[in-house]
Every structure is written in C-alpha cells, then in structure tokens.
Amino acid sequence: MLDIYFKELMHSLPLFFKGMGITALVSGISLVAGTLLGVMCGILRAVKRFGLSKIMGFYADYMRGIPFLVHIFIIYFILPETGIQLSPFPAAAIALTVYAGAYISEIVAAGILSIPRGQREAATAYGLNAFQRMRYVIFPQAVRVILPPLVGEYVLLVKDSSIVSVIGLTDITRVGWLTVQRIPEGLIVFGLVGILYFVICYPLIHLSHYLEEKISYETH
C-alpha cells in the first residue's frame, strides 16, 4: 500500500516544485517590496520630525497585533467591498508586503536609534542636511545592526507565506493539502512539504547567524 502511495507522490512531485516556485515568487516579491516599505516607514518612525512617527508606530502595532490569517482575510474579502478586486496572487503579495513592512520598519527604526547622537551632531556640524545625514552617515552604520534581524525576518516572511494557501494560491502548503486528499498519508506528504520549506529557510537562518557573528566580531 505504502509503495503505491509513494509512487503516486513521486508523480505529483512536479506539482510540489511548481508550488515551491509560487512560494518563492510571492515571498521574493514581498521581500523586496516589504523591505522598501519597511525602510521608508522605519526612517519616518525614527526621525520623529513630520509627526508621522506616531502613525508609523500604530501601523507597526496593528500588524504585530493581528494574526496574518485575519490580515489576509481583510485584504482578500474586505477590499472588494470598497471596489478593489484582487485575484489571489496580488492579494497575497500585498498582504505579505504590508505585514512584513511593519516588522521591518521596527527593525530599521531600532537600528537607526541605536546610532549614537554624536554621529548626527557631528554630521550637522559638517553642514550636511537631513537627507545627507541619513544617506551618508546614519544609515550606513545602522545597516550593520539591521542586517541580521532583517534576514531573520525574511525567514518569517517565507513561513508566513504558507498562510496565503487559504485564499487559494497553490503554494507548497496548498499543493500538500490538495495531495493529501488523494494520498491519505499525511506524514509523508507534509513531511515533504516540510522538507521543501526547510530547503528555503534553513540557509536563510544560517545566513542570519553568520551575519550576526561576523558583525559582532567586527565591532569588537
């Protein structure tokens, strides 16, 4: 019995790889977009100048407070009521971007605030304006603090992307869910799903550890 199921599973392997492609694509797009959004919001949050810092704080709190599942339902089911129809893929990408952006903004804000005041004061004394200070003095230093947790956040992003399967996007998890209806061997099917996620996430986790060690070594 088991070897029949196994053969069947081997037949649906291309489907799993397709799912892996979808997972990689949707997380990749949201990774880039989320990073841009997060860096922007993080800077606005840390700078406390345009009165936007409070709003950004609430944005981060809101996203940290609600589950991703509820968030994606809100994007997918409630936006259409306001007239914005989205098919599953863009809805998933937007939901992930907005969600990851909030976490990244926290990381970026913390990184910027960790730079000693003196740096900014010295840059001001050199006659740099606010943009130049951020661009040439503060941000390059903050990146060192930001990078390790940022890569850690990417791991979370890839894992959260499994939840987009509930709105019908055929990522790895959904392929597993569909397969388990035909092949009732949950352990094998979701073991395979787990392995595929592992292949993506494990290197990222180690990259994060590596960056952390490298940076702490350099600063000491």
Binding site: D61, P67, L69, F77, E81, T82, T173, W177, G186, F198
Partner: protein
C-alpha cells in the same frame, strides 16, 4: 461599497465572539504552558554538553524553526491518524502550537542563560553545587528575569498563531469571524471585530512586557 458598518450584527454575534475569545485565550494559555516545559527541556538538552542530547535538541529546534506552523499543523492533523493516534482538533492544535513555540522558547531561554556571566557558574561550582542545583538556584532565576519580555513576545506570537487552528475547524476568534462573514456575508464586520479582539490581547501583553522591563531597570538601579 462599504457604506456602513453594521454594529447590530456584531452585537448579535457577540456571544459567539466571546466564546471564540475565550477559546483563543485558553488554547494559547495551555499551549504556552506546555511550550515552556518543552522549551526548558530542549534548552537543557542543548546546553547539557552530551553530544547525543545536543544533536536531538538541535534537530528539534532547527526543523521547527525552518518550517511554517501551518505545515506542522497539517502534518499532525493529517498524519497522526496514519499512526493510529486519534486526538481531536483542539488537541491537535495545542500539540502543534506547543511544539512550535517550544523550539523558539528554547532559543530564548538559551540566549538568556548565555547572557549570565560565566563567573556565576564558576562561583556556584566552587560552592559545590551540582549541575542541577546551579541551574535551579543560580542560573535560571537570573535568566528567567531577563527573558520575560522575550517570552511575552513569544506569547503574543503564539496567540496570533493560534488563529491557524481555525483552519482545522476549531471554534476560536478567527473562526467566529469567518462564521459571521459566511452566514451574513459581512466580512468587514466579522474580521474587523476579530482584529479588535486580537489587538486588545496584544496591547495587554505589550503593556505587561513594558511594565516588566521598567520593573527590571528599577530593580537593577537599586
């Protein structure tokens, strides 16, 4: 168009939401309890210095941390019956949540223990305390104090993750919202109400975490 927000329906469904809120709270509470035990055991194994135990804990932590909770949940939900283990959905959910959080908690506690200066261990050893006594009386009391904010952060994550058990048809906050959305075709009312309840839990836990951090600073200042 989202012309109006129907509070009457929300009020009508309030008993369901409160039931869901209660379910979310107790499922998370039980899960964090077991996760703490698991985390302490896994962390102890990892720091024990025994090769085999270290490997075992390492495999557990790494495999949990690099796979999504949803896959783990389905793994148990669809997989356990194959092993002739029949438990209901709530228990499956708690099992998956506890195992998932346990791995993260192990890492949090490990970070806390590592942050305790090695002089503490050396002094305790000089006093003739055994490994267990050192952990119990010297290291853990200090480590737990430092890790409480991170543990509360993990608890927030766990509460949010518990929304996933709605996908294996456990009635909790998200499921209640889905019910309202599908019975009355009012997704906005349903999901925003659920979101508001989650935010409430989040702010309570965040407040606790901040309070504890200030408390710590106050204690260290003395």
């Amino acid at each position: 168009m989202l012309r109006y927000f129907n509070f009457r329906v929300i009020w009508q469904y309030m008993p369901l939401f409160l039931k869901g809120l209660w379910a979310t709270c107790w499922i998370s509470g039980i899960s964090i309890f077991f996760a703490l035990i698991l985390g302490i055991i896994a962390c102890g194994m990892r720091l024990s210095g025994r090769r085999f135990l270290q490997k075992l804990a390492g495999i557990y932590i790494e495999s949990i941390r690099s796979t999504p909770l949803l896959a783990q949940l389905y793994f148990f939900y669809f997989g356990l019956p194959n092993l002739h283990i029949y438990i209901n959905e709530v228990e499956t959910g708690i099992l998956a949540l506890a195992l998932n959080s346990g791995a993260y908690i192990a890492e949090i506690i490990r970070a806390g223990i590592i942050s305790i200066p090695s002089g503490q261990t050396e002094a305790a050893t000089a006093y003739g305390l055994s490994y267990f006594q050192r952990m119990r009386y010297i290291i853990l009391p200090q480590a737990i104090g430092v890790t409480i904010p991170a543990l509360l952060g993990q608890f927030i994550v766990l509460v949010k993750d518990s929304s996933l058990v709605s996908l294996i048809s456990v009635l909790e906050l998200t499921r209640a919202a889905q019910r309202l959305a599908s019975e009355r075709f009012m997704p906005a009312e349903g999901f925003f109400t659920a979101a508001a309840f989650y935010l409430l839990i989040y702010y309570v836990l965040k407040y606790l975490s901040n309070w504890w951090q200030n408390h710590l600073i106050f204690m260290e200042g003395k």
